[in-house]
């Protein structure tokens, strides 16, 4: 009896594994067809000298020279890399907290909820692609100028910042804090997708969980820590991953702009640009792997 049952289950397991493989290898086929070749190609560019003429690309081998140049002779690359790393670290933390907070608030029942949700999705519409190109020169410049003056008391941190810095004698910890306050405007703008993902995740939590907790006498605060947070933890990970990727591929990322400039700007040095991009890419991969590795141990999945 025991043996039969065991064999049966393993047959089902095997069949499920096969289905899963079919589902996932579909993606692998696409990867091999559309992404693998360009990636390998780009690696050969990184290790070579690239000359583009009349739509033809000529690559001659160049060894590790491009990479050596990035770390030894290029005066701009390393500072830009460290700058974007610190910015991203702070941004990721702030965006995650802010979007979770807003999503939890927006998930409660109150009048005007639908309107507010629509408003919080606006950044996703406005800060992508064409609109940002067209509007960057006008609206954001105007808005930034206005907030630095008297228009937005909420964003007016300049004087406060100065006082704080003099009081603490330019303590680096305080500098980080005031920089973060200066970026409030950006943080709000960057959180659109994350808020949307959190709301979708919150909606997937069964109301029955909250009801039974309430019957047992749990306060809202306790429900948040014991129900909302564990149930939403898979979405926290994905939001973290998204925020890191988003900051790295952001139009405003100075390092990325520098890389693009090397390739398509004045120098047209595509090989060196590819090498820089690959270094950058390796750094992101390490950061992502570390943060996801640490976090996914704490993530709660209902079924695992």
């Amino acid at each position: 009896m025991q043996v039969v049952r065991k064999r049966r289950r393993s047959a089902l397991e095997r069949r499920k594994a096969l289905t899963g493989r079919i589902f996932c290898y579909f993606w692998v086929v696409g990867f091999l067809l559309f992404v693998a070749t360009p990636l390998v190609q780009s690696l050969t560019y990184a290790f070579g000298k690239v000359e583009i003429s009349m739509g033809n690309v000529k690559v001659s081998p160049n060894g590790w020279n491009n990479f050596a140049r990035a770390f030894t002779t290029d005066a701009e690359f390393l500072p830009l890399l460290f700058d974007s790393l610190t910015v991203i670290l702070i941004d990721v933390l702030l965006v995650t907290f802010f979007s979770l907070f807003v999503a939890v608030m927006l998930n409660r029942r109150f009048r005007g909820r639908a309107l507010l949700r629509t408003i919080f999705f606006l950044p996703v519409i406005i800060t992508s692609g064409a609109l940002i190109y067209v509007m960057q020169s006008d609206v954001s410049a105007q808005f930034a100028g206005q907030s630095a003056q008297a228009g937005m008391p909420m964003l007016q941190t300049v004087d406060f910042k100065q006082t704080l810095l003099t009081l603490t004698g330019n303590n680096p910890a305080v500098v980080v804090l005031t920089d973060a306050i200066d970026r409030v405007y950006q943080i709000i703008w960057k959180s659109g997708v994350q808020i949307l993902l959190f709301i979708a995740g919150l909606q997937a939590i069964s109301p029955a969980l909250y009801e039974s907790a309430e019957v047992e006498g749990s306060t809202g605060w306790e429900s948040f820590w014991k129900i909302t947070l564990p149930m939403i933890s898979p979405i926290i990970v994905i939001n973290l991953v998204y925020t890191i990727i988003d900051s790295f591929t952001d139009y405003n990322n100075t390092l990325l702009r520098y890389i693009q400039d090397v390739a398509f700007g004045t120098t047209l040095d595509y090989g060196y640009s590819a090498a820089l991009a690959w270094i950058f890419f390796a750094v992101i991969s390490v950061i992502l792997a570390l943060s996801v590795g640490i976090l996914s141990r704490r993530v709660f999945y209902m079924n695992d």
């Binding site: 069949r15 993606w27 696409g30 507010l116 006008d138 997708v193 709301i199 979708a200 995740g201 991953v241």
Partner: protein, 317 residues
């Protein structure tokens, strides 16, 4: 005795009520502030779009035009060739989004629910494609699409390669296999959602004799509506606004709204006698408004389903 008790309860509810009021006021103020920051560009777009040249020159007009005009919209319509560009953009946005939903949900389900040895490795590869900086891949991918070949098969059978420039293929083909713009993120979203669903739902399906595919189609799909709406919206918006990919492949074919929008100032100054900024700026914003209006409409419709979906999903515990 009872009187004292009542008094106590009354005081408790009064405290609770004030507490709630204070909380309410605090959040109302907070959300008004944040809301203002977020709505500001939109107000700016629409108020500027209806301004006449006279309003632009009038220093006392800040927000509301004194002589509002819809002429700007009509002009912008012509400059960006709205009907033509809209159909091109809609083809890409709707088509790719549909393909993305079909492909990414299936692939995401595969990663979420089935165990096989190399799953972790493959999923790492999915995330890896997400973080490839555009600068790495732009040029080689472009070369690949203008000399398109499926593992040497086309060269062998047709004696040449395909030039997929000036077709929609560079958008549709990769999307079929979950390789489009940010498809990795969509696979990730679906995976996280499916992983969070109770496994009992599927077990019920298996016990009732459904196969894996039917269980997926009949049980999991209807329960994943929030994920579908989320991914659908994001995919739609990103393809609607994407400039770079579209400019690369559709430049000489059927220009899209986003491409037109990027060049709108050029179109206005080139084909109009009036090149004064007081005319160009409002017309430009009329163009911006025309481009984002469909997006806002789609979001409002999606939002409705978004709120409903929870009542329909029927998942308990």
């Amino acid at each position: 005795m009872t009187k004292i008790l009542f008094k106590k309860i009354n005081r408790a509810t009064a405290v609770k009520r004030t507490k709630r009021l204070v909380y309410g006021l605090f959040f109302a103020a907070l959300f008004c502030g944040i809301g203002y920051i977020l709505v500001y560009p939109l107000i700016y777009i629409f108020t500027t779009a209806v301004k006449s040249p006279a309003d632009m020159l009038d220093m006392t007009t800040v927000w509301i035009a004194k002589a509002p005009t819809l002429q700007n919209f009509a002009d912008a319509w012509g400059y960006i060739d709205y009907a033509e560009a809209l159909s091109s953009t809609a083809t890409i946005a709707v088509g790719v989004t549909a393909l993305n939903l079909a492909a990414c949900s299936t692939i995401g389900y595969g990663f979420a629910r089935f165990r096989f040895r190399e799953r972790g490795l493959l999923f790492a590869l999915v995330v890896f494609t997400l973080i490839v900086p555009a600068a790495v891949i732009i040029l080689p991918q472009y070369i690949q699409y203008i000399n398109f070949d499926v593992l040497g098969v086309l060269r062998a059978t047709l004696g040449g390669t395909l030039n997929l420039k000036s077709t929609y293929a560079p958008f549709f083909l990769p999307a079929i296999f979950g390789q489009g713009l940010k498809s990795g993120l969509f696979i990730y979203i679906f995976r996280q959602f499916y992983r969070g669903m109770p496994v009992e739902l599927e077990e019920a399906g298996y016990i009732d004799g459904c196969g894996t595919v039917r269980t997926y189609l009949r049980i999991m799909l209807p329960n994943a509506v929030p994920a579908f709406i989320t991914v659908g919206l994001l995919s739609f918006v990103w393809h609607w606004n994407d400039v770079f990919g579209q400019a690369q492949y559709l430049d000489e074919f059927r220009p899209t709204l986003s491409m037109k929008l990027v060049g709108i100032v050029g179109y206005i100054t080139k084909s109009s006698v009036v090149t004064d900024l007081s005319y160009v700026v409002p017309t430009k914003y009329a163009g911006v408004a025309l481009v984002i209006l469909p997006l806002i409409a789609v979001y409002l419709i999606g939002q409705k389903f978004f709120v409903q979906s929870i009542e329909r999903s029927g998942i308990v515990g």
